[in-house]
């Protein structure tokens, strides 16, 4: 994950192919879960009915939702295991761990947005926005897995934990459906903006497809990581600002 290679001087490898496959698998399961789940949530509306009937009825929709949920569970488990294995045994850098700097970065960036300071926060491999999304997916995913399994096997829950009150089932439903709504909105608004519509990456952040990122974007978005990898000291903020103005155009025209 952290092995980064230079290529043609212009691009830097950012993601291992396995991480690319992982993202694509997650994206597909997420879409399937959303389609089959949200049509169950809004079961009365005509579009939901259209989806469910075309999936072959409510039972089929549920089978698809649960099977995809299982795939999502496996993906989440393997991610946690792979991450733990890598960080603990292979001495990968725990670059996803949230630290104090992320909070100061967020405040710095807000200051920059409001024009109080004239340069954005200098971030490492993952900036605070990406960490927020990542942990949102991991924690939200675990919550979805547990509430989902509760709804799938409502009687088993009481065998596992006999003292649970009956309302744990409707509570699981409330959490599952609300968390799903939250996840969907964050993905649709935040993730799609940052990886598609943001002026920094428009029309598409190709890093997760090609696994590579341009040197310009690397210097602009992850200066600390760039410095650590290359050993070279980047110029002060003013020099970068000048570069930044041309950055996005170069990327958009890059193959």
């Amino acid at each position: 994950m952290i092995e980064i290679e230079k290529k043609n001087g212009e691009f830097i490898r950012r993601f291992h192919p396995l991480r690319i496959i992982e993202h694509q698998a997650n994206a597909i399961t997420f879409i399937v879960l959303v389609v089959t789940g949200i049509s169950q949530k809004f079961h009365n509306s005509s579009w939901a009915e259209w989806i469910i009937m075309n999936l072959g009825g409510i039972d089929n929709a549920r089978v698809i939702h649960r099977t995809t949920g299982l795939i999502f569970t496996v993906l989440t488990l393997q991610h946690i295991l792979t991450g733990s294995y890598g960080v603990i045994l292979k001495k990968w850098m725990p670059s996803m761990v949230i630290n104090l700097k992320d909070f100061t970065d967020a405040i710095d960036n807000l200051k920059y947005y409001f024009g109080i300071t004239d340069r954005p926060a200098r971030c490492d491999r993952y900036d605070y926005k990406q960490k927020f999304e990542y942990w949102g997916v991991v924690i939200g995913g675990i919550l979805m897995i547990f509430t989902g399994l509760t709804l799938w096997f409502p009687t088993k829950v009481f065998h596992l934990i006999p003292f649970l009150p009956g309302q744990i089932i409707p509570a699981a439903k409330a959490a599952h459906t609300n968390e799903a709504m939250l996840a969907l909105l964050v993905i649709v608004i935040w993730h799609i903006y940052n990886s598609v519509f943001s002026p920094d990456v428009f029309p598409l952040d190709t890093a997760i497809f090609t696994g590579k990122i341009s040197k310009e974007r690397m210097i602009h978005e992850h200066p600390l990581e760039y410095e650590r990898l290359t050993g070279e000291k980047l110029d002060d903020a003013h020099g970068e600002e000048g570069k930044e103005e041309h950055g996005p155009e170069e990327i958009s025209s890059a193959p």
Binding site: G57, F114, F158, H159, I169, A174, L182, L185
Partner: protein
């Protein structure tokens, strides 16, 4: 002897007197008739029977003129009576005279087949004139009166199995029925005094079922509905006990269906006794029976009247929530009893409700999903508050286990009733919903603001 001479003189005198009037009116009964009417045209004339009964011997000439027998002379029927021979007979009473006089008809009307022949053998009490009249004899039309001529007596029809069924009709019941404007032949198609086909039925039930077919000639809409009904299906399969129209509605004494609700339930009771008893103990039944409450449902409100479908079929099951909500989602009606109308919506929003709603649309579902009756009872619907509440809950866990084997005793608690989750009833659900209802807008507004700021900063920098 003197008596007879006086009679003769009177007859001859009257002959002359009457002869004058015939020349004007051209009397149909001919000369002989004119002669007879000389005396029998007198309204005072009467005969006294042994039992003191009196019979007027007056014959109305006008009725004779319109009679079917206007060309038959008096002695044609009254054999043995003539001017010269006017034998005196003694009768016990008026009826015995009528019966005796009717014998005359058979001199001409010899029946070799048909209903008359059968009646001649079967009937002692009914004679020709009962139906056809005497002097004013008319070709009998298909009027009710003509049928009553025979059918008010103890007629009966023999069946092949040896049993008999009375054909006696209660005229009063007929007059009180909704069909009192109809003529007999309207229902008994093909029957009249002339056409009275003989039919052979295996037994009484066969007779009833086949006769019931006549209803569809007017009530075709109801008839087509019954074709889809459970009862008709059972009948088709050979169970002749299945009810046909007249079993519920009655035959001659048929009443309007819009009577008191209890009447309708009692009709079903005649076959479904045990279910009626269960119903009578239910919250609806008690209210109907003890308070004559017309708001509560009776059998036909849920099962329908004519197109009664098999309640074991998925279609019926899946429609139960809508069925109950006919009343239980009716604001006006439920206000009277202080009941919530949110019961339907809260059910439909729940897992089971969603499933049932889709099963209705899919038409291929075979699983039995819990509907209203599974928790509240079918015919033994009880109150959910008060002393019955614990019974409801005890039944509930048994029902849960049918689909959720191994459900623990507190499993019914997973259904947090038909009320919106609130802090008192379901604090966990309420809190989760509350947190998300704050957190989701907070998060989204925050993210959208960040996006706007980002774009704004980018635009300013350019």
């Amino acid at each position: 002897m003197l008596n007879r001479i006086v009679l003769h003189i009177t007859l001859i005198l009257s002959f002359f007197f009457v002869a004058q009037s015939i020349s004007i009116a051209s009397y149909p009964p001919g000369e002989e008739g004119a002669l007879c009417l000389g005396c029998h045209g007198n309204k005072e004339m009467s005969l006294t029977f042994k039992n003191g009964e009196k019979l007027s011997l007056f014959v109305d000439d006008r009725s004779l003129m319109t009679s079917a027998h206007k060309n038959v002379s008096c002695s044609g029927c009254h054999k043995g009576f003539s001017l010269g021979d006017h034998s005196k007979r003694q009768f016990k009473n008026r009826r015995s005279l009528t019966v005796w006089a009717s014998d005359a008809c058979r001199q001409c009307h010899t029946f070799k087949k048909g209903i008359h022949l059968r009646m001649l053998g079967a009937l002692r009490e009914v004679v020709c004139v009962d139906c056809h009249g005497s002097h004013a004899i008319q070709p009998v039309k298909e009027s009710g009166d003509a049928c009553f001529g025979c059918h008010k007596y103890g007629l009966s029809i023999p069946f092949k199995d040896g049993s008999r069924h009375s054909l006696e009709i209660d005229e009063d019941a007929l007059k009180d029925s909704v069909h009192n404007k109809l003529r007999c032949a309207d229902c008994h198609f093909g029957f009249s005094s002339k056409e009275h086909p003989e039919r052979d039925f295996k037994d009484k039930r066969n007779f009833t079922i086949i006769t019931s077919e006549t209803c569809r000639r007017c009530h075709f809409d109801k008839y087509t509905k019954t074709l889809e009904s459970m009862h008709f299906n059972v009948l088709l399969k050979g169970n002749l006990k299945a009810p046909v129209c007249v079993d519920c509605h009655g035959a001659h004494g048929i009443k309007t269906g819009r009577t008191e609700k209890i009447e309708s339930a009692r009709r079903c009771k005649s076959c479904h006794e045990d279910i009626y008893q269960t119903y009578a103990m239910s919250v609806h039944g008690k209210s109907l029976i003890s308070m004559h409450n017309q708001d509560v449902p009776v059998c036909s409100d849920c099962h329908r009247a004519h197109d009664i479908s098999d309640p074991r079929m998925a279609d019926f099951r899946n429609n139960i929530p809508q069925m109950c909500s006919n009343c239980h989602a009716n604001e006006e009606l439920m206000k009277k009893y202080g009941l919530s109308t949110a019961v339907l919506q809260s059910y439909l929003e729940d897992f089971h409700g969603v499933t049932v709603s889709y099963y209705k649309k899919q038409k291929n579902a075979i699983r039995h999903i819990a509907v209203c009756t599974d928790c509240h009872g079918i015919h033994d619907i009880t109150r959910t508050k008060g002393p019955d509440a614990s019974i409801v809950k005890a039944n509930l866990v048994r029902r849960c286990r049918k689909c959720h084997p191994g459900a623990s005793d507190n499993f019914p608690d997973t259904w947090i009733s038909h009320y919106e989750p609130n802090f008192k009833r379901a604090p966990l659900v309420y809190t989760i919903n509350l947190i998300y209802s704050i957190f989701i807008p907070f998060m989204i507004v925050g993210l959208v603001l960040q996006i706007i700021l980002h774009i704004w900063r980018y635009a300013v920098n350019r």
